[in-house]
Structure formats: C-alpha cells, structure tokens
C-alpha cells in the first residue's frame, strides 16, 4: 500500500512537471495583463524544437536551448499582436496553437521523413535521471528509504528545475521591483505609465519569460519524459496548465499545488484503470480525467472559492492622448 502510494506520487511529480513550468509561464504573462491560451502551442513548439535539435546535435542541452528559442519566438509573435497591435489575446493564442500544430508536423516530415515524428533519442540527447547519493544504499530503510530513493531521487534535472522555479517565481513576482511593475501593469497600467515606466516593455519582458518557461516545458516533454517528438504530444497540457493557473488564483505556491493535484489525478487515473475500488466498484477513468476541468469550472463559477484574475487582463493598453 505504502509502496503504491509512493509510486503514484513519483508519477505525480513526473506528470506535474510540464504543468508547473507552463502554469508559471502563464503566471508571468497573465500577471502582466496578457491572456495566454497559447501555452499549449508554445509547449508543443518547444517540444518539437528540442527533439529536432537534440536529434541533430546529439545533446539534450542544445535541444533545450532551441526549445527556448522557438518558444520565445512564438511568445514574441503573441506580444507583437497583443501589445504592439492591440489584437485580441484569445485570437492570437488560438492562431499560435493552430500554426504550431500544423507546422511541427509539416517541418518534421520534411526534415526527418518519419511521418512527422523526430527520430528516437538516446544517450546524451535525452535528459536522464539523476540518482541522489546513497539512494541505492538506503533504499531498504523503511519509509525514508523508499521516499528518498523512489520519490525524491531518480528524476531528471528539469523536474528539479520546475520545483526550484516556484519559489523563484514567488520571489520575482512579489519581492522585486520588476515583480511589482509586472503586477502593476496587470492591475492598473495607467498608473505604471504615469510613473514613467513603459507598459509595453514590462509586458514584453513578461511574455519573454513566459516563452522561456514554456520552452523548458516543451523540452521536458520530448527530451526527458519521452524520447522524441510525437504529433500533438502536448495533448492539452497547455490548457490544463491554464486551468491550474486559474485554480491557483495566479499565485505561485497555490498554482504549484493545483498542478500537483491535477498531476496526481492523472497518475491515479492511470493506476485505477480497470481496478474495482472496495465499496464503489470500478471508477471510469474518464471521470477522474475530467476532474481538473470540472473543478476549474466550479471554481470559476464561484462554487468553491472565487478566482479573480488581474484587473487589466486581456485589455490592450492605450495611452491617453489629450
């Protein structure tokens, strides 16, 4: 029983990682007032760039760099549309998701001729697990041994990075000057403008950070969690991260827990496939799968708490001209 729990939690960490990265990405963007439903597309683009570059150069780190480049490029398109040209944030996000969904397969087929996939990655082209010191030795110690060797040890570097980014995000958003400005442009851009700070510049910086984090999330999907790019491999994780961002009310630590909860549900759903629970019987996997979405809808509707986003979110900033 205990071992099963540890294994489920272990899987939870692995499934949650891309959600955490993408949700933090969304946090930067949306805190600055830029709605981002393009998390999905940026993640998918990052996944493709990472796998393609890792396949060509044989290094997961070069893959990661390309993933970040690709994702930041997409983020800048989003910024160009939403910040510079005051376009509709949702439409721009949909555009990016659509373009990436098509472009990754198109380029993949042209470059690798494997039906839109990238070649399977091996060795250094993937991020491999990091085994903590003495993990083997203390694995047999009751309770702690299992927690240490199974749950904490043995993930790849990107998993640990995701967890480090949570306090880092908290610090940046709530304890730095940039964070103050970031939150201010999302709540009251006029005030920021009055203080002589460029609203556009702050927002551009926010979408660039968003792009970087989405790129890492994408690289995780194709070069750490899997060994190569598959068509549509982000499979709605970007939207789920968006749900987690709302569920965590745009605050880093609650967002982390929302991602872990959604990841946990995913891990449980896999485990419960075809298993009859005592007293309840067999729970349909789909019922667990939809829980993140149902919970988010309920939260948004104010049935369980209330999610209130940044005030100026989705509104283009127009300087007043007398």
């Amino acid at each position: 029983m205990f071992e099963t729990l540890i294994l489920i939690l272990d899987a939870t960490l692995r499934v949650s990682t891309p959600l955490i990265l993408a949700a933090l990405a969304g946090l930067f963007s949306e805190r600055s007032g830029i709605v981002d439903i393009g998390l999905e597309g940026k993640m998918l683009g990052g996944a493709f760039a990472a796998a393609a570059a890792a396949a060509v150069f044989g290094s997961a780190w070069i893959g990661l760099a390309f993933a970040i480049l690709a994702s930041v490029g997409l983020a800048l398109i989003h910024g160009f549309a939403c910040i510079t040209h005051r376009g509709d944030h949702i439409v721009s996000g949909v555009a990016i998701n659509t373009i990436v969904a098509g472009l990754t397969v198109t380029l993949g087929l042209d470059w690798f001729s494997q039906g839109g996939q990238t070649p399977a990655l091996t060795g250094d082209a993937r991020f491999t697990s990091i085994v903590f010191p003495f993990a083997e030795q203390i694995a047999d110690v009751p309770v702690i041994g299992l927690i240490y060797s199974e749950l904490l040890s043995g993930h790849n570097i990107l998993v640990y990075m995701a967890f480090v980014f949570v306090p880092a995000t908290y610090w940046i958003v709530f304890k730095t000057r940039f964070g103050l400005r970031l939150r201010a442009v999302g709540e009251n851009p006029h005030a920021v403008d009055t203080a002589g700070i460029s609203v556009a510049l702050v927002r551009y910086r926010a979408v660039i950070i968003c792009g970087i984090l989405c790129g890492i999330a994408g690289a995780y999907l194709s070069t750490a969690h899997n060994a190569g790019f598959l068509k549509d491999m982000s499979a709605g994780k970007g939207y789920m991260a968006l749900a987690a961002l709302i569920f965590g009310k745009w605050r880093p630590v609650p967002v982390l827990f929302a991602c872990l909860l959604f990841g946990f549900l995913d891990a449980v759903a896999v485990r419960l496939q075809g298993v009859a629970l005592p007293g309840i019987g067999e729970v349909p996997v789909q019922a667990i799968e939809v829980l993140p979405y149902v919970l988010t809808v309920l939260l948004l509707a104010g049935f369980i708490g209330k999610a209130v986003g940044p005030k100026a979110i989705g509104k283009p900033y127009v300087k007043e001209r007398a």
Binding site: V94, A95, I96, T98, G102
Partner: protein, 365 residues
C-alpha cells in the same frame, strides 16, 4: 478626429484583403522553407479542390462543417462573446444526432428521422453551450475558459459513452452499429442522378443545404429581428445596452444556445450524412477552424460561406497535395489556417492605422 471619413470599401475590402494576402504570402514562405514551389503546390491545391466533380463535392462537404462552426463562432462574436467551445458542442451535437438515429432507424422513415435528428443535434449542441453561457451570464466566469474546459469534458464524456455503452458488441474499436439506411441523409449525387445530373461521388449530402439555410437564419436573426438588434447592441456597447433596458445576461444565454445549436449541426453532416454510425473524434478540429472562418468571413453569412468554401478547398486540396507530393502532409493546411487567424484576427490592426491615416489625409486634402 476630423470630419473626414475613411471610405467603406477600405475597411470592408482593402484591409481584410491585405491581411489575407499576407497570410498566404507567409504560407508561401512555409512552402519554400520545406523546399517546395508554392505556385506548383497552389496548382495542386486548386486542381484537387475544384478541378473535377468529386473534388468540388469534397470541398463543399468540408465547407458544410465549416459553415456550421463558422456561424457558431460568428454569432457569439456578434454579442462580444468568444465561443471557443465549438469543438465540444459539435461533438455533443453529433451524440444527439447519433442517439436519435440509433433509436429510430428501424421504426421510422427518413422523413421523420431527419428533422428530429436535426433538432436533436441542435438541442444537444445548445445544451452543451448552455452551462458555460449560464456561468458567464449569471456567475461571471469567463466564457473562454469554461468553453475550453467543456471541450475536454465533452471529449472524455464521449470516450466514456462510446467505450462503455454505445460500442457495438464484439467490436474492438469504439464505434456504434451502423444505422439502417432510413437514417442516412441522402448524398447530393444520389439526389441529382434521377435528374440526369452526374456530379461525381463524394460525401456531399443534404446537410450542405441545411448549412445554407443556417446562413439565411443567421442573417434574419441578426439583422431583421428585435432580438438581433439587442444582440448587436450588447456586442457593440454592453453599457449602452443595459441603459436601453436590454437584459444582457439573457441575450448572452440565448446567443450561446444558438451558437451551440449551429455547432451541433456538424453532427448532422458527419454522423447522419457520412459516417452513418457514432464514433470518436469526428469533429476533427472543425470547431477551431470555425474561428478562422468567422474571422475571415467578417461575421457575415456571405463572407462565412466564401471563407468556408476557401477552407474546405484547402482541406480537400491539401489531401490532393499530400497525395501528389508525399513529403508534404495535409497538416500544412492547418498552418495556413493558423496564419489566417493570426493575420486577419490578431494582427487585423497592423495596417489599419496607416491605411486609414492615408485615406483621411487624402480626404482632408
């Protein structure tokens, strides 16, 4: 602002045209990037879509779905709402159509099943849009997010129903039994052949006529009813609408019901017209493509028909293209679709200021 006005044709014609051309130009660059001649590719596309009878049939068959989802997205736009849940509404609409066909196909003739199934698809689609609409109107939750969530919920619900309840016994894949022919919407080539017209075999069916009727309904509703006036007022200026005594929440809920109903009719074309059984993933992204259609069609039924035919042609031509040049996937059409959304949607203001400025200055001079 001066008194000078920008000519109408600039806003309705020139700027949208420039945006579309830019989208196609960038699409051409994508073709160049994968080492293909864009003009040659365009040739295959056009031939595949319009070059022969069956090709035209396929184009119009794809266009049927796109008209439905285009109308769905567009009518919600009219009220300032973004219904991104067309995909889920179409999916559940198809479920409604399929359930009715499975229930009635052995006992009723087509003349009774067809209208019932159409109503069924519309009602199921509308019902799926109702909850997000209600939550937006009465509880203030953002419709974009809820409709996205409802797409995923619809998808899981369909998998559950198909795998556990509707799957034909003894089949591995989650497909329902095939309907009896009394629940098949006639193909247009079968309708035309007694008249001595041969239009080539294609999945084009009577749902296409239904889609055109839908455009007429849209036109009538939006511009020729009191409710349509309320709808447009809410979309243009919600505050003014409230002052004028319009119940914004009620308009929101009703427009979403109609939007969901339009999307649900995709099920009539796909389930009753072509597949003749209930299956998974028949919506195949039409809900999202509807956004491109609505944007490109400038939220007008005529525009939507033209845009739907253009995208239908891209789908059909894309299949032909992938067949002729194996190193190209049909997905390249999705790229073009995305670029159209980007340039005629998100970046629609890119040229606007400059061009309007030019005409204003010219008018002032």
């Amino acid at each position: 602002m001066s008194q000078a006005k920008v000519p109408v044709w600039v806003n309705v014609g020139l700027i949208p045209l420039l945006n579309i051309l830019l989208a196609f130009f960038v699409s051409g660059l994508v073709f160049l990037a994968i080492g293909q001649n864009p003009l040659e590719a365009a040739g295959y596309l056009v031939y595949g879509a319009f070059g022969y009878d069956a090709g035209i049939g396929y184009t119009l068959y794809y266009a049927t779905n796109l008209i439905f989802t285009g109308l769905a997205v567009s009518i919600a736009f009219k009220a300032g709402l973004f219904n991104i849940g067309g995909e889920g509404q179409a999916y559940i609409g198809g479920l409604g159509v399929g359930l009715l066909c499975l229930w009635l196909d052995s006992s009723m003739p087509l003349i009774i099943i067809a209208p019932l199934a159409i109503i069924g698809g519309a009602v199921f689609g509308a019902a799926w849009a109702y909850i997000p609409a209600y939550l937006q109107a009465r509880r203030g939750s953002h419709i974009v997010i809820t409709t996205i969530m409802f797409n995923f919920i619809a998808s899981s619900l369909m998998v559950y129903l198909m795998v556990n309840w509707l799957k034909e016994k003894g089949m591995m894949s989650p497909i329902s039994r095939t309907f009896q022919e009394s629940a098949w919407l006639p193909y247009l080539h079968d309708v035309f052949s007694p008249l001595g017209l041969d239009i080539g075999n294609s999945p084009l069916n009577l749902a296409f006529i239904l889609a055109l009727l839908g455009c007429v309904v849209y036109w009538g509703l939006v511009w020729h009813t009191r409710w349509g006036y309320q709808l447009r007022t809410v979309g243009t200026n919600p505050t003014a609408a409230r002052y004028a005594g319009i119940d914004n929440a009620k308009v929101t809920i009703w427009v979403m019901l109609i939007s969901g109903a339009f999307a649900g009719l995709v099920g009539v074309n796909e389930i009753m017209g072509v597949n003749h059984n209930l299956l998974l993933n028949f919506t195949a992204g039409y809900g999202f493509a509807g956004i491109a259609v609505a944007l490109m069609g400038r939220n007008h039924p005529i525009g939507i028909i033209l845009a739907a035919i253009l995208f239908g042609a891209l789908y059909q031509g894309g299949a032909e293209l992938a067949f002729e040049i194996p190193s190209i996937t049909p997905e390249i059409v999705v790229v073009i679709q995305g670029l159209v959304i980007l340039f005629s949607g998100a970046l629609e203001n890119m040229f606007k200021g400059k061009i309007e400025g030019y005409f204003l200055r010219r008018a002032a001079a």
